[in-house]
Symmetry: C2
Subunit: 258 residues, 2 copies
DNA sequence: CAGGCTCCTTCCACTCAGTGAAAGACCAGT
DNA sequence: ACTGGTCTTTCACTGAGTGGAAGGAGCCTG
């Protein structure tokens, strides 16, 4: 570029994206200097780019001077197909499950080697749950994660098995044991966890299939303990899962004219 | 730039944003040429920029060759503060309302001179409703819109009053009549519509206040007709609205360290 | 109320990243 | 094989984008 040094190979586009990527769950409000630091940009550059982003509505400047993600970006994000369509179709079924079980309900998809939560439904006060819509968690320590892992391509499964980090004392960290569990998931059609992600929380999850039988998501609930009604919970989940599959048939085209 | 002509004053950033802005509710999957046309870019430029966006995860390329908004953009969008926090806090209350009324429930904020829907809760099959989460509708023809307009700054109200487009035969198109209605909203604390946005749909809405009494959102429901239970519906909404205000008190800090 | 700190903003000369025309590659109809 | 439509790649030119340096605006602390 000019003036002086500048990391060559860094396009303007990538700088803009680096700025957007600087925001995450733990950093939702950032000052200009923080943004510059996190994105690896000089202050003046960050300043100019950020100003353009604010003018367009991608970012918003708070009275405090901190920048946050803006509305325009929020509603463009909502146009992401899988997430939004699945959510929309699944939403009433998540309700049914909540009504039947009063447990926190989750809808999640696989994103690389992690679980991405795309919807969540919780009552006024429920079991403490780690997940947030839009957040990612490890696959091997969550119910929905095990389901998605059980039906994932081999290379994903291998990648995950090489890094079974311990989250609680009950987390499955031995590849063999997890593999056996995944086999069980495939034959029995549901996964469960017992305090493997957070203490005091157990979960059950089932796959959600598209009309062509491919597993596209997982549906799960979190409860304080699995007592003796695991069967009932699994049944509720499976009914909802099949309902979603049926609804998807009449809702997934997505290919437009002009 | 170079080569030849190029609209000067058009920064790379604005080109990237123009590409992102090319997506909307009716254009969620676009081909490269459509993107280039809509963003006002040459094909090669669009091609290069889009490739960068895809590489980063802001866009995704479908098997069909069409581009759609990607996951990365989706989850960055979720970091937008007002929307996400309000939603999260309000969600259980939307449920309560749904449980009590079985009507489609909406949570909306004002965005400029339009209503922006930030959450929506509907049963398996309800009254046909136009709104979508993330979509914008005119303020003067919706229940939540009237509420937000009633409490909006004067300049916004004036801007809206100059352009009262007719949506159905029942839409309020006379500024005087709407102004009177807004006064009524402020004194009585709720707004209503009768087939003003879409035929066969009526609505009731109330303001949602932050702990400091400012109106930050509106809560509304859509029903086939207002019959005689308007009072009951308004009461349900008001209870929920006050609940949200109370919950907001313990949830709105948003200012971080590093 | 100076002095030092951090944060934000503006200026400007230099130059390399980004540009679009043109041409090539690929389809699917006819 | 031709035609109209996509998408992709190349390339010489140049002005848009760059970061140092310097100027402000706060806000503590001594």
């Amino acid at each position: 570029m000019a003036g002086n040094s500048s990391s060559p190979g860094t396009s303007v586009t990538s700088r803009v994206l680096a700025l957007l990527g600087s925001f995450d769950d733990d950093h939702r409000g950032l000052t200009l200097s923080q943004l510059a630091r996190r994105a690896g940009l000089s202050l003046p550059t960050a300043h100019r780019l950020v100003s353009e982003l604010v003018a367009w509505g991608a970012l918003t400047r708070r009275p405090s001077g901190r920048y946050v993600v803006g509305r325009r970006l929020w509603d463009i994000g909502l146009l992401a197909p899988l997430q939004t369509d699945l959510r929309q179709v699944a939403s009433p079924f998540l309700h049914d499950i909540y009504a039947a079980t009063l447990a926190t309900v989750h809808l999640a998809v696989r994103d690389g080697t992690e679980v991405l939560y795309i919807d969540r439904l919780a009552g006024h006060a429920s079991v403490p749950v780690v997940s947030q819509v839009g957040s990612r968690l490890p696959m091997h320590a969550t119910g929905v994660g095990k389901v998605l892992l059980a039906y994932a391509p081999d290379e994903v499964r291998e990648a995950v098995l090489t890094d079974l980090s311990r989250v609680t004392p009950y987390t499955f960290t031995q590849p063999g044991r997890l593999l056996a569990e995944l086999r069980r998931v495939r034959t029995e059609g549901y996964a469960q966890t017992s305090e493997e992600m957070s203490l005091g929380a157990c979960s059950v999850a089932v796959p959600v299939r598209s009309p062509d039988r491919a597993v596209v998501a997982a549906l799960g609930i979190v409860v304080p303990s699995l007592k003796r009604d695991r069967g009932r919970l699994v049944a509720a989940l499976q009914v909802a899962s099949q309902g979603i599959t049926r609804s998807l048939a009449s809702a997934l085209p997505l290919d437009e004219s002009e």
